[in-house]
């Protein structure tokens, strides 16, 4: 199908500081990429901490990692990957001006985000019951419980920070769903969906790193 966008409709979305929608689009996209660079370094501090202690207390990290639930972690990986796929289709739907598909795909992404968070909640509860939460009834039968506690501290810090990002992402998706339903993304105004998609993919990619580092190091 061919899409035609009348210049007049575009004008309405251009901020007064920009000359045209092209400039606005480029600016927004560049801004998002720079923000994601910031995010990479934000997580970077934790990844550095993980790496250092992984080298110092290698076998205890391996042992501690075995107690994490790979099934839930693996399912969550699949859930996030599928949600990313839906997001990619959503961006395409926005570009093609397919309103109903866009609403459905955005809502789907949000729902999968919620599934991820629910599974995460179940898993955290299970960790608590198994005495794996530092300072909250933490128990460790093996040697050097301090070092094992360190692993779980890092696990909760990393997955917790990631969960905050997912929650923010779900919020964004819900708002976008509403706006899409109201028809705000028609006539080439798909920029918002596109940069929200960048954010969602980023959240997904972080998990793709977290999953093997935390869950799989114990399963060789």
């Amino acid at each position: 199908m061919s899409i035609s966008i009348s210049p007049a409709s575009e004008e309405a979305f251009v901020g007064q500081q920009f000359d045209d929608i092209e400039q606005q689009r480029d600016a927004a996209k560049l801004g998002m990429w720079i923000f994601l660079a910031t995010e990479v370094l934000f997580f970077g501090g934790l990844f550095l901490g993980y790496t250092i202690y992984r080298f110092t207390y290698g076998h205890i990290f391996v042992e501690a990692s075995r107690k994490l639930d790979v099934l839930i972690g693996g399912t969550n990986t699949a859930v996030l990957l599928i949600s990313s796929l839906l997001m990619a289709f959503a961006v395409r739907a926005a570009k093609l001006d397919q309103r109903r598909a866009l609403v459905g795909l955005l809502a789907g992404t949000a729902v999968l985000g919620c599934v991820f968070m629910s599974l995460k909640g179940v898993e955290y509860h299970k960790d608590y019951v198994d005495h794996l939460v530092p300072r909250m009834g933490f128990k460790w039968e093996g040697a050097d419980p301090g070092n094992a506690e360190l692993f779980y501290w890092i696990y909760f810090a990393m997955t917790g920070l990631h969960a905050i990002h997912v929650t923010v992402g779900i919020g964004i998706m819900l708002v976008l769903t509403l706006l899409a339903w109201l028809g705000k993304f028609s006539h080439g105004n798909h920029n918002t969906v596109e940069i929200a998609g960048l954010y969602w993919h980023f959240v997904d990619i972080v998990w793709v790193f977290l999953f093997p580092l935390l869950y799989l190091v114990g399963h060789r």
């Binding site: 560049l30 910031t38 550095l48 501290w153 890092i154």
Partner: protein
């Protein structure tokens, strides 16, 4: 639109655009167009946001200065007279935290940068005006958290928050202070993103990268550091807050955690942060030196590239804060050699500014006095940095007053001088009015003298071995502390004077006209104060910046306008 060649008939050189209407105050301007508190609090105008920032950072500057004054008075005597050790420790913490995160880091970027960056590149605003306003609100929220922590009793960890003291042993309000800095960090990140995108996407037709004013280059380099370093600080502060709250964490030696890891993460941010604090100052100096010696900058590409080199090398020298922290000898050597090398681009800048004066026509207006003062103080600050990069000497002077003196020469002698110089230089544009020139010159000289008297004795004190953060000190050091306190009171006068005459001139000063300095930057090619969207029509740039001519001299004496 970048780099596109404009149609021949619209070609004009930047200087031809100068509006020669001396003494005319633009009635229709960004200040007059919307009135009332609401209009200010909801403004998306980068110029008004710059002024909001100016007001906010001044409050923090005043609080932090009061803390410094109390410390200097206390240090007049070796034994405590005025405050207890607890209070003294809180004073230097509040001085450090507020000065670094709530004054120095935002100072030039958010005030002068916000105000002039879009105008310098011929844009109507920054790329994301709403985000720009949001960054100010985030900053205010961060500042409020920091002040709340102060009101509840303050923090005594020092601005460096070293673990395990900050996580386990301090009995003060560390979490709220760390949260304040954390929040303010996001304001910095948002500003950085905004400036990078603005510089990339919003330049006027014909304004290619190598036609950018050097202030824009320096803000660009600064923004890169802001965006890439600040998140590391944010996560580090979040980690110590959680560790303190939870009672357990990754810096905890009891779990086999490493407190020195905190120092690595902290300085990975905080050393680049030093360049966040000085690079914009260097950019301002390039503007001032060229305008007041009526010369094109010597070695434009070298000065601009030096900013980028500093930004990149600045990320690789953090370990020089940790030569005696028990990091390995070999790591120390790598950080030492990189620290020596990062001095080279700073040196290039100083040499080029000096060479710019050659065959110029030098006007000793107030901004120029600040600029020359900057070169003098920054040179001393930079050269003493070599002492700290030299491993064996650093072992002796680390954590002493030598370090204090060194970084105050950079931060106060450098950044604050540049900020004051820039504020005087752009004040006619900001307010549309002239400050009293004689008082300005006097204040610049008082600041310079007071500064040297305050901080030069501290070099001697530091080499003698006086450690920093000492409430009580051996009596033989007293003479240097007395000199320092005397200097600080002179310095205080130097700062109060501009505050008074700026406020006075805001309403009472004589009208400045669009371009009192006959400067070539685009920001001067519009009326003063500028209209809401900066330019009546988008300017078109056809030549390099700083097209001054020393041979065809002009009269810049403000008193004669």
């Amino acid at each position: 639109m970048n780099g596109t060649t404009p149609a021949p008939e619209t070609m004009k050189s930047a200087t031809e655009l100068v509006v020669e209407r001396p003494g005319e105050f633009a009635r229709e301007n960004y200040l007059s167009i919307h009135r009332g508190v609401r209009a200010w609090l909801l403004t998306k105008d980068h110029k008004r946001i710059g002024l909001l920032y100016l007001g906010t950072i001044l409050i923090f500057f005043l609080i932090a200065s009061v803390a410094a004054a109390l410390m200097r008075i206390e240090l007049l005597t070796p034994q405590p007279k005025l405050v207890t050790s607890e209070t003294y420790n809180k004073l230097f913490t509040i001085h450090g935290v507020l000065m670094v995160w709530f004054f120095l880091i935002p100072s030039i970027p958010t005030v002068l940068g916000n105000f002039v960056l879009p105008m310098m590149i011929g844009a109507r605003d920054v790329a994301f005006p709403k985000l720009n306003l949001m960054s100010w609100y985030i900053f205010v929220a961060g500042g409020a958290l920091a002040l709340w922590s102060l009101i509840r009793g303050g923090v005594d960890t020092g601005w460096t928050f070293y673990t395990p003291y900050s996580t386990t042993y301090a009995n003060t309000h560390v979490i709220s202070m760390a949260a304040g800095v954390f929040v303010a960090g996001f304001s910095t990140i948002v500003t950085g993103i905004n400036f990078i995108v603005t510089t990339h996407k919003m330049r006027a037709p014909g304004l290619t990268w190598f036609r950018l004013p050097l202030f824009v280059w320096s803000l660009y380099a600064t923004s890169l550091i802001m965006v890439l370093a600040t998140p590391v600080l944010a996560i580090t502060l979040a980690l110590i807050s959680v560790e303190r709250f939870w009672g357990v964490g990754i810096f905890d030696p009891k779990l086999g955690g490493d407190p020195v890891l905190f120092q690595h993460l902290f300085w990975f941010y905080s050393h680049p942060a030093v360049y966040i604090m000085i690079l914009p100052g260097m950019g301002v100096i390039s503007e001032l030196i060229t305008c007041f010696s009526r010369k094109r900058i010597y070695g434009y590409a070298w000065v601009g590239s030096a900013s980028m080199a500093i930004a990149i090398l600045g990320f690789m020298v953090w370990g020089h804060h940790m030569f005696v922290s028990s990091q390995s000898v070999y790591a120390g050597m790598i950080f030492s050699i990189l620290s020596f090398l990062v001095a080279v681009p700073s040196g290039i800048k100083v040499f080029n500014w000096t060479a710019t004066l050659h065959k110029g026509s030098i006007h000793f207006a107030t901004p120029m006095l600040y600029a020359l003062g900057f070169i003098g103080l920054f040179t001393i600050g930079g050269l003493t940095g070599l002492f700290l990069a030299a491993l064996a000497v650093d072992v002796h002077v680390h954590d002493t007053y030598f370090v204090i003196a060194h970084f105050h020469y950079i931060m106060v002698g450098g950044m604050v001088m540049a900020f004051m110089g820039g504020l005087h230089y752009w004040w006619p544009k900001i307010s549309g009015r002239l400050y009293p020139e004689f008082a300005g010159k006097l204040a610049a000289m008082i600041t310079f003298i007071g500064f040297n008297l305050t901080f030069f004795p501290q070099f001697i004190l530091g080499y003698l071995g006086q450690p920093r953060r000492y409430h009580i000190y051996p009596p033989e050091f007293q003479i240097f502390h007395v000199l320092s306190t005397a200097g600080a009171s002179v310095l205080g006068i130097g700062y109060l004077m501009p505050l008074i005459y700026f406020i006075w001139s805001w309403r009472r000063g004589r009208a400045a006209g669009p371009n009192p300095w006959r400067a070539t930057g685009l920001e001067w090619q519009t009326s003063s104060p500028p209209p809401e969207h900066n330019f009546e029509q988008t300017p078109i740039v056809t030549g390099p910046p700083y097209s001054y001519s020393a041979e065809k001299d002009v009269d810049l004496n403000l008193a004669s306008i």
